[in-house]
């Protein structure tokens, strides 16, 4: 029998107001891919931050190969071969890839030998199929590339235990598939890999063993051949989760949003949207499928007034609102759940209370001409937090301390409270656990029932098929296919997403 490389016993970690880890035991074996599952806020990231030396535990012991260790910083953990890639990357943008990799190490002399490092990094990358350019500056990299840099960084410092916190949340399906290959190779070489995820299909595809957390405790450990969806879901959320919703009849409302031949540029000054047209009716959910980076952000921003269209028109309830200011669009009842929750949708440093006020601080219920009505604001915030079950320790807590899933709930609570006519949601379930995903989906269906038009931009085809009434495929800034959901066929949508099956699809690629 193999000996575990890591044994954690009785781990406790308390944050002001919450017990994030409550007496957790966990074993990690060399050569295994170990999935860590659990609801939002169940303490997965916390546990792994403790293991990687970022947080200090309030109790419990960590043994590496049977020897008890106390980590004072991530550096100590790295020295024991434990490396973690965080949910939010920790790279220094203006520095080069090689410099970033060098930074977290402690071996080597005072002077860095750049050539040797560059060569070593390239070699490591080759070995595991992680294509990175050591000379490139980090700010030039895509999200997927940044993640590869993080992984190579950990390998470079000799990690034998690699922890990945929701690694696929930000990747395109192709990038995710690439990464899985790499992880398998690493496990075959004897590395232990812990990866946190909310996607059960990834667990089935990859995991040798699964540990499930709920409310800071372990609710189960399953081996690969014991995996069972129902069991896993029960361990995670303590109840069944519905996988199919009542969609209701196809609505016959009047058009809410009409986009006609919209052309817009992306941040790099290239075409983001090309002649895109779509219409959404009252009470309809229009799903936009597509691989991230094909114009999703531009589409959402054009509709919410955050980005100008260079050509084309946007109409809301038959009124021309082309290139209106964001404030006008908000006033007209357009709500928006952006891809970037922390930093765009929510202000990290400000409190829960202040964040809930973001869209309504000018409304007469909450403010006069000059002054805010703090009592009314507090009452509503307390009500929203309760109604949408956002887990906060106080209304004055800065939102950056909330777990990923509760951030999203908070954001949705605020946007839905505006009683929108049109709701634009981008990747609503990204990073959410199965229970929270279901809750979010129900909220969107409730909106639909109230005749709100919903534009659902998602990279998860299942989600779109479950919720949407009509599906459009976004490829290269164009809508390359549009079907009622009954006629939509996953196979065909997949092809369209990949850019085949359209006339001129290939030729377009050169224009970008």
């Amino acid at each position: 029998m193999l000996k575990p490389i890591i044994t954690m016993r009785g781990m406790y970690k308390r944050f002001p107001g919450v017990l994030a880890n409550d007496n957790i035991d966990m074993d990690i074996y060399p050569g295994e891919i170990h999935a860590l599952l659990g609801e939002n806020g169940s303490g997965k990231s916390t546990l792994m931050c403790v293991l990687s030396g970022l947080y200090k535990p309030d109790g419990g012991t960590i043994c590496v190969e049977g020897e008890e260790k106390r980590f004072r910083s991530p550096r100590d953990a790295i020295a024991c071969g434990i490396g973690m890639v965080h949910q939010h990357f920790k790279l220094v943008e203006p520095f080069s890839v090689a410099e970033n990799i060098a930074m977290s190490g402690q071996h080597g002399s005072f002077m860095l030998s750049t050539e040797k490092m560059t060569a070593d990094i390239a070699e490591l990358g080759d070995k595991y199929g992680l294509a990175i350019k050591p000379e490139a500056s980090v700010w030039q990299l895509s999200v997927g590339e940044k993640q590869r840099v993080e992984i190579v960084r950990m390998l470079y410092h000799g990690s034998r235990v690699l922890i990945l916190d929701e690694p696929t949340a930000v990747l395109t399906p192709q990038e995710a598939a690439e990464m899985f290959k790499t992880l398998r190779k690493m496990a075959a070489d004897g590395c232990a890999i812990v990866f946190i995820t909310h996607k059960l299909n990834e667990v089935y595809e990859l995991a040798d063993r699964v540990t499930v957390l709920r409310g800071g405790r372990v609710t189960g450990v399953l081996g690969r051949n014991e995996l069972d969806t129902k069991k896993l879901v029960w361990m995670m959320v303590g109840r069944d989760v519905v996988s199919q919703y009542e969609r209701g009849v196809m609505p016959e409302g009047r058009p809410v949003l009409e986009v006609q031949k919209a052309v817009a540029f992306n941040d790099m000054g290239m075409y983001g949207l090309k002649d895109l047209s779509l219409t959404i009716n009252e009470g309809e959910i229009f799903g936009i499928a597509g691989v991230a980076g094909n114009g999703q952000r531009e589409l959402a921003e054009v509709i919410t007034g955050l980005r100008r269209v260079a050509d084309g028109t946007i109409r809301l309830y038959d009124e021309d609102v082309t290139n209106s200011r964001p404030a006008d669009m908000i006033a007209r009842g357009v709500s928006y759940v952006p891809e970037d929750r922390l930093g765009v949708g929510l202000v990290p440093e400000l409190s829960v209370l202040e964040n809930l006020l973001l869209k309504s601080y000018q409304q007469p219920e909450f403010s006069g001409r000059w002054l805010l009505d703090s009592k009314a604001i507090k009452e509503r915030a307390a009500k929203l937090v309760k109604e949408y079950k956002v887990k906060v320790s106080s209304l004055d807590q800065p939102v950056k301390m909330l777990s990923g899933g509760h951030l999203q709930r908070l954001l949705l609570a605020r946007e839905i409270a505006e009683k929108p006519k049109l709701m634009v949601v981008v990747y609503p379930a990204r990073g959410l656990d199965v229970g929270a995903t279901e809750a979010v989906h129900r909220l969107l269906l409730d909106l639909k029932a109230e005749k709100t038009a919903v534009l659902l931009i998602s990279e998860d085809l299942d989600e779109i098929m479950k919720l949407a009434d009509r599906v459009g495929v976004l490829y290269n800034g164009r809508l390359v296919g549009e079907f009622p959901v009954e006629e939509a066929d996953i196979e065909r949508i997949g092809l369209l997403m990949a850019g085949s099956g359209t006339e001129g699809g290939e030729a377009d690629a050169y224009q970008i």
Binding site: D328, A331, E349, Y361, L372
Partner: protein, 359 residues
């Protein structure tokens, strides 16, 4: 045993008060060591400073007089800093305020007081606002870094005043000194009793109240906070960032301009070079030490007033005036170092491995 630091959920309220106080004491002890090295009795000196600055009606009056421009400039600066606009140009805005205010009595010496003073006030504030609006406009339009532009405009402002005082505005009856003519009585700010404390103090206190209301409880204060924390979120929420940047910088400059106006009209009674011994710069330290809190700005400005006046007093003991600069520097150093204790708490691990937090 190893002591470690753990971040607090929110800065501890007790610590936010205790830390600056303790830091100031430590800074004074630190400087005392240097003073002792030069063979003086530091505590005698400190006592003399205190006594000189606060122990007599004259001392109190002088201390307040020095504190007023620091309060006003500190308040002005804090407004911009709250929105992460780094207005380093208080000194220039101060001079411009004084300059524009001076124009009124020099051009219309016979105006009655109830027209003269309001006009000086308005022009002074407008000039300060304009001086700050330039950099703000450049920032909004082309993202020019406001730190550089406001800083450089300080020198332009100071030299502009010098030019006028040495040139066109020089008092013909002034024996060739670089001074403008004395202001007529109608252009002088009223003072309290026989002291030199002028109504600028009341203006500063009124601004404190106004700022408290703005930051605590106003729509606009909320916008400033959001924009200062995350511009992208502010844009998403439909806030007009450019307009607010211009507005905040203009107001920040106006308050600094007001400081210049009250100084020239309440203290100097004429425009002269060196009207400010660097109030605009010291006020940056004041605003920062006060953590941009309006009430704290008044207190810190008062403390700096004491240092300044005390410094003059101890010069009669043969201590160089630069001692004041040393103490100011030490205070800043210790307070910033001490901030850590407000944001983190110290944790002492005990022998059993579990750890106890010390509040």
């Amino acid at each position: 045993m190893r002591i470690r630091f753990e971040k607090r959920l929110a800065p501890s309220p007790l610590m936010t008060v205790a830390v600056p106080v303790v830091s100031v004491i430590l800074a004074l002890l630190f400087c005392a060591a240097f003073l002792a090295l030069t063979g003086r009795h530091p505590f005698e000196l400190y006592f003399a400073m205190l006594e000189g600055a606060l122990g007599s009606a004259y001392g109190l009056s002088e201390t307040t007089v020095k504190a007023i421009p620091l309060m006003l400039c500190g308040l002005g600066i804090s407004l911009a800093f709250r929105m992460q606009l780094w207005n380093i140009g208080a000194e220039g805005q101060f001079y411009l305020g004084a300059f524009a205010a001076t124009w009124v009595p020099l051009t219309f010496p016979d105006l009655p007081v109830f027209i003269m003073l309001p006009m000086m006030l308005l022009l002074g504030m407008a000039a300060g606002a304009l001086w700050a609006l330039g950099p703000a406009y450049l920032k909004v339009k082309w993202r020019v870094n406001e730190i550089i532009t406001t800083l450089m405009l300080n020198y332009v402002g100071i030299l502009l005043v010098n030019y006028f005082v040495y040139g066109p505005w020089r008092d013909p009856k002034g024996f060739n000194f670089p001074l403008t003519a004395e202001f007529p009585p109608a252009a002088l700010l009223p003072t309290f009793g026989g002291s030199r404390i002028h109504v600028g103090l009341l203006l500063a206190l009124a601004l404190v109240v106004l700022f408290i209301v703005i930051f605590r409880n106003s729509r606009w204060g909320y916008e400033i906070k959001v924009i200062g924390s995350s511009e992208r979120a502010a844009r998403y929420a439909g806030m007009d960032i450019k307009r607010n940047m211009l507005l905040v910088m203009a107001l920040s400059g106006a308050v600094c301009g007001l400081a210049g106006m009250t100084e020239v009209s309440g203290i100097a009674g004429r425009l002269q070079p060196g009207l400010s011994p660097g109030y605009g710069y010291t006020a940056i330290i004041v605003a920062w030490l006060a953590r941009l809190n309006p009430v704290a700005i008044v207190l810190v400005a008062g403390m700096f007033g004491v240092l300044q006046v005390g410094g003059y007093i101890v010069q009669t003991f043969g201590v160089p005036a630069s001692m004041v600069a040393m103490i100011q520097g030490a205070v800043l150093f210790f307070v910033i170092g001490g901030e850590m204790f407000a944001n983190y708490r110290v944790v002492f691990p005990n022998s059993k491995g579990a750890e106890k937090a010390d509040e």
